[in-house]
Symmetry: C2
Subunit: 296 residues, 2 copies
């Protein structure tokens, strides 16, 4: 059935009862605002929003289940970058009137599965029509212990640089089904002092310079060390993007213990030292740095 015929209120009546919802939710989807239990004073409230746009982040023929999954997992990957626990999500769905309610329900099934994977409650949202491509925007709130949150800006000259997993080739389908490294990130900050961290969404060649700019340091990586996905070359590993792996900086004194404990805790997930931070900080345009990494 087309949304034009169904109407917003009836669509919501079908969607809302199925949304994941934890005990901390006092008023969820369906009222003007969501009301949830506030975190305690030892934590920061953590806020992030992200979106997927048809034709940019997914193709019209993509399975709506995968699209919903990706729309939820993108902001959750930023929670991994911050080592924060996501708790509550708001969904904004902007679709043409001729969209079928089956497609919308499948989007919501993907969103709900992804949220449930990390015990996130979907507590509200908004729908709107558009004459253009579909947009799914997801805002997530959660918390992080004040002594465990990580940002891009704490890297120090001399730090070792690590990446999780393998880079490149996500555009062959993996980008729709990735699992953000929240568990790994929480384990890292529980057991190690992580100086700086981010998730790789635009590709190492763009994202690494963002981390080093924020930390006011330079970097030297050995591109031959980059962990590549099967069938990918170095260019793919640097530039493809949508990897959603973690990039982080840690004191070289901790590197050995990290690598040993990691391989015990996450035997199936690669952890690779790709280089280190140094003191040669220069302000450059990110595209130049991309070229710099790319062509060095």
């Amino acid at each position: 059935m087309k949304l034009r015929e169904l109407g917003e209120d009836r669509l919501l009546a079908q969607l809302l009862p199925r949304l994941p919802r934890g005990k901390a939710v006092f008023a969820g989807a369906g009222d003007d605002c969501a009301l949830v239990e506030a975190p305690t004073g030892r934590n920061f409230l953590v806020l992030k929003t992200d979106c997927v746009v048809e034709g940019v982040h997914f193709l019209p023929r993509a399975d709506a289940l995968d699209v919903g999954w990706k729309a939820m997992m993108r902001p959750l990957s930023d929670f991994a970058a911050t080592s924060a626990r996501p708790q509550f999500a708001l969904i904004t769905l902007i679709v043409p009137k001729q969209t079928t309610s089956e497609w919308v329900k499948r989007i919501y099934r993907g969103l709900s599965r992804a949220a449930a994977r990390f015990k996130v409650s979907i507590v509200g949202g908004e729908t709107s029509s558009t004459r253009g491509p579909a947009v799914i925007s997801v805002s997530v709130s959660g918390l992080v212990e004040k002594n465990r949150c990580v940002s891009r800006s704490g890297g120090k000259a001399g730090d070792d640089l690590f990446v999780t997993g393998r880079l490149g080739g996500a555009n062959r389908g993996r980008h729709l089904r990735f699992v953000p490294r929240i568990e790994e990130s929480r384990w890292l900050t529980k057991n190690f002092s992580i100086h700086a961290m981010m998730d790789l969404s635009d590709g190492l060649g763009v994202d690494l310079p963002r981390l080093t700019r924020a930390s006011k340091v330079g970097f030297k990586i050995d591109i031959n060390l980059l962990p590549r996905s099967p069938g990918c070359n170095i260019d793919n590993a640097i530039s493809d993007g949508d990897d959603y792996e973690l990039l982080f900086a840690i004191s070289p004194r901790e590197s050995e213990r990290l690598q040993k404990s990691w391989s015990k805790k996450f035997p199936k997930l690669l952890l690779t030292r790709i280089g280190r931070l140094n003191s040669r900080f220069e302000i450059r345009d990110s595209r130049l740095l991309r070229g710099y990494v790319h062509f060095q």
Copy 2:
């Protein structure tokens, strides 16, 4: 300059330093997630997202300053409905690559002015390209004292129904420049027991049945009592939408004191008793109820 030439990183470098940002913000726009001071345990965390879409909520020729203002004020109006204090906002901006950075900056100026009006910090966001109409989505978090939050669902048979301001005619320009009734709502819940409340965004004819459905009550209003904007007829007052006035239910025992105190506190803003809630609750399709109100 076109966004295609400027690039996301340089655009953000120009936008971020100007955003309103209060003391409770530990890490704001520019990092993976925003980190803010969490509210205390006596409060609920309040979450709301809303969006404006070109061609639906604003015309391409509208002043970007007004569009940014409206995009921020829409979710803030839901905070008024909940009697909550907004604190932190995330912006998602989805625009075609040929959009000029001047337009985007003017959108942000409107967003920032509206945020500053209610001491809201803009703590992050996301930009994306699209091949379709522009979308601005705003997610807001804040807090409300647990004993002061209001929803649509607490209305009781016998309650008096009030609306603030005048209804209808917002599409003549007012919808882009409205000020959400946050101050009025906070005053109401500080001084009175408000049983149910909502903001009127889709028009009284659609929104009132939503409140009565949530409260499981019926209603009887005298449409001749409806406070109309200059030049508007009853149809406009019921159906135009975009009023962003408050609709609320209160015990008739409090009505007289309310009206007296209101006219002292807000002498320039009309407060009108439009009818009352009764026990004739029926489940109906919202479009039928709209017709019911419309044609009764």
